[in-house]
């Protein structure tokens, strides 16, 4: 009797699971042809974003544009936001406008969830740097979003402690490794920095700097090259330092890491332009002691950076008010008033070149130690290399976390983890039916 009951239950569960799978995979409501013509009467647009105070920014717009009312719904950011938007798009409930991180935009495009707004955005293209524009076109003729904020990477370091340990700001990664050894030798409790196995975006940015191209599109086919020479070089560099024990392996944004930044047992952080917010909240004691410099280079004399983070404003494919949505997105990201609000209210580093140039006062955290913070950022930002993200970045990023966690645990070479990322990514794309170029 008991086995009978269990068997029935199991069968029921399988049935349910099968049912769910079927539902989830059934084709989404085909995106209806959006009406590009200006609609009559006031339209209401919904906007999913996690940027702080976006409701206040929308209120300014709503005041001036009674015909186009924007309702902001503040969402949780990150990978979950992308998954939620994709699910909503599949079910036909997508908002008109959505904040899309650059690395997730290709998955939106692959799911036909965002509209191609090339025609409406031709005029604003010169506002953005080549590298950023590439992130919203994927190197094609289409335009899938308007860049909102950007995250060029630079080296944050403790000025005072660098002096104390007698190290100069590393110009190359070789010098960085040397400095790591010096610091750790002087005080075994102190590290120059940390390798984070939990922040694939960080690693991707460093790989970009080295010239990696993880994905590219040729014709109809995707090419995946995560285990290329540049990425392997970056992985082996950090793997070597971790193996040597001269660099910490604490993931970023953990309480332990925060503490290390705060009490000065970690001296530097290769991060992005949005770093001041993190430092301010996690290392309040370091105020006025941190400075920025360009990332160390792979070859002396070069000047390259990469992007970590940043997002864009996309219009969903099913939006019935596409023209109005593009109008708002354009205002938000290219109009001086919109950018000004983005900077002051949402604390973003604007993607627009004009907006970046208009930044004056440094973040309060850097007022003493790096008064020219924004000028530094603009110079470094212009050296950031372009990159194309693939349609399954989530899978690749998860593979990064798993593989590098394992490498840290087993003390195995980091280059093998890069190979795992490549294999996992390719397998997933094949399974999802993407055409892959050899």
């Amino acid at each position: 009797m008991r086995t009978h009951r269990l068997a029935l239950a199991a069968a029921f569960a399988t049935l349910l699971a099968a049912g769910c799978g079927g539902t989830a995979e059934s084709p989404a409501a085909a995106p209806s042809a959006p009406a590009s013509s200006a609609p009559a009467g006031p339209v209401t647009l919904t906007y999913w974003t996690w940027a702080p105070n976006m409701d206040k920014i929308a209120a300014v717009w709503n005041q001036a544009n009674p015909d186009i009312q924007v309702t902001v719904s503040k969402q949780a950011g990150g990978d979950d936001a992308a998954a939620k938007f994709l699910t909503a798009a599949k079910a036909g409930n997508a908002p008109d406008l959505v904040q899309a991180e650059y690395q997730h935009l290709p998955s939106f495009i692959a799911a036909d969830a965002v509209a191609d707004i090339a025609a409406e955005t031709a005029a604003v293209k010169p506002e953005f740097s080549e590298g950023l524009w590439g992130l919203v076109t994927l190197g094609t003729e289409s335009v899938y979003a308007i860049p909102q904020d950007s995250g060029p990477m630079m080296l944050y370091y403790r000025k005072d402690l660098f002096e104390k340990y007698g190290i100069s700001v590393p110009k190359t990664w070789e010098e960085y490794a040397e400095a790591a050894r010096t610091v750790h030798k002087a005080d075994p409790k102190v590290y120059l920095g940390s390798f984070s196995s939990k922040d694939p975006g960080w690693f991707a940015g460093l790989a970009q700097q080295a010239g990696a191209q993880w994905w590219s599109i040729s014709g109809d086919a995707w090419k995946v090259g995560i285990n290329d020479a540049a990425t392997t070089k970056v992985a082996d560099f950090w793997g070597g330092l971790v193996q040597e024990g001269v660099i910490d392996d604490q993931p970023y944004f953990t309480p332990e890491w925060n503490k290390a930044l705060n009490d000065g047992t970690q001296l530097s952080w290769p991060s992005a332009v949005w770093g001041p917010g993190v430092l301010e909240s996690n290392a309040p004691k370091g105020k006025g002691k941190w400075a920025v410099a360009p990332l160390p280079q792979w070859n002396a004399g070069e000047n390259f950076s990469g992007f970590w983070g940043g997002s864009s404003t996309a219009v969903s494919a099913t939006s019935k008010n596409r023209a109005a949505a593009v109008k708002f997105a354009t205002w938000l990201n290219t109009d001086p008033q919109g950018i000004d609000l983005l900077v002051k209210e949402a604390f973003v580093y604007p993607a627009s070149g004009k907006g970046q140039a208009a930044l004056g006062e440094p973040p309060a955290y850097f007022a003493e130690s790096q008064p020219d913070f924004w000028q530094q950022a603009a110079t470094i930002g212009s050296s950031a290399r372009g990159f194309t993200f693939g349609p399954n970045v989530g899978v690749t990023y998860n593979a990064y976390k798993d593989a590098f966690d394992k490498a840290l645990q087993d003390k195995s070479p980091f280059s093998a983890s890069v190979g795992t990322m490549q294999d996992t990514t390719v397998a997933d794309m094949q399974k999802s039916g993407f055409t892959l170029a050899q």
Partner: protein
């Protein structure tokens, strides 16, 4: 009464268990008292000085949206648990006290339902509610949580133990209708069990994250769990609001504690156990 030495081991185990359960709560309590500057500098168990400031900041955050989330959570958990308890009690009573064709099949299917984690169902439920045009409404979070197989199972077990057949039989002989038997005899006897189910469901819905996360797009309808998550995953370009999140977490467990303390007195079993004895 002399304590037997053998009692030390179970007591020790229970104390360990209590510590295990209370430690995280005290961590939340202590951390909520720390100002942003103290959060990562003070020792883990050293209380800080910023509790009132944290609460004030949380209260001011986006014009007090936290209280709106709290209210939403009360609506979802209170309404959902109440409806769920009624549905479970009536179904449990029926399954325990009536013999009808298909009874075992229904019960087995319910048992199977217990084995399916509700997490698995969230996405299909979302797609269903979208088809009905009910996604992003209060109902989208309330309705799926009303039918809860485990609660029905509990109610059935409780009804078969707490409602004696002879009592129902006596009622029938006195000419009570079946509906009257349910309302005047069955349900009153099941109250302790129903309180248990209510508390279980209330806590489950209060803590539920995935279903409202998927169902709701409008942040004005978020419950606390999803609302606090928007503070946590707020993008990297601004300071994370850890102090607000921890304070919010602390405030969000207060209603649960209050509920348990007030409902405890209804939790008296065996009171009616003597109805047919003696």
């Amino acid at each position: 009464m002399n304590r037997r030495p053998v009692g030390a081991l179970p007591t020790g185990l229970l104390v360990l268990g209590a510590l295990y359960c209370l430690l995280p709560v005290s961590w939340v309590l202590i951390s909520a008292s720390k100002s942003p500057g103290e959060l990562f500098t003070l020792g883990t168990l050293t209380p800080g000085t910023g509790l009132l400031e944290n609460v004030r900041e949380l209260d001011a955050y986006r014009d007090g949206v936290f209280w709106r989330w709290m209210l939403n959570s009360v609506v979802y958990a209170g309404g959902g648990a109440l409806l769920s308890t009624l549905v479970s009690a009536v179904s449990g009573f029926a399954l325990a006290k009536y013999r009808f064709p298909g009874r075992n099949l229904i019960f087995n299917v319910l048992i199977g339902g217990i084995l399916v984690p509700s997490v698995v169902l969230a996405v299909p439920q979302y797609l269903l509610f979208s088809k009905l045009g009910m996604a992003d409404t209060y109902w989208a979070v309330l309705l799926p949580q009303i039918l809860h197989p485990y609660s029905i199972y509990l109610a059935r077990v409780y009804a078969s133990a707490a409602v004696p057949d002879s009592l129902l039989e006596a009622g029938r002989i006195d000419g009570a209708s079946e509906g009257r038997l349910l309302w005047r005899v069955g349900l009153p006897l099941m109250v302790p069990g129903m309180v248990t189910i209510f508390l279980f469901q209330f806590v489950a819905i209060w803590n539920n994250f995935l279903l409202p996360f998927i169902m709701l797009g409008d942040d004005g309808k978020f419950p606390l769990t999803v609302g606090l998550y928007t503070l946590l995953a707020a993008g990297a370009n601004q300071p994370s609001l850890y102090n607000l999140i921890i304070t919010g977490a602390l405030l969000s467990i207060i209603p649960l504690i209050a509920l348990f303390l007030t409902m405890q007195r209804y939790w008296r079993t065996d009171l009616s156990g003597g109805a047919v004895k003696g």
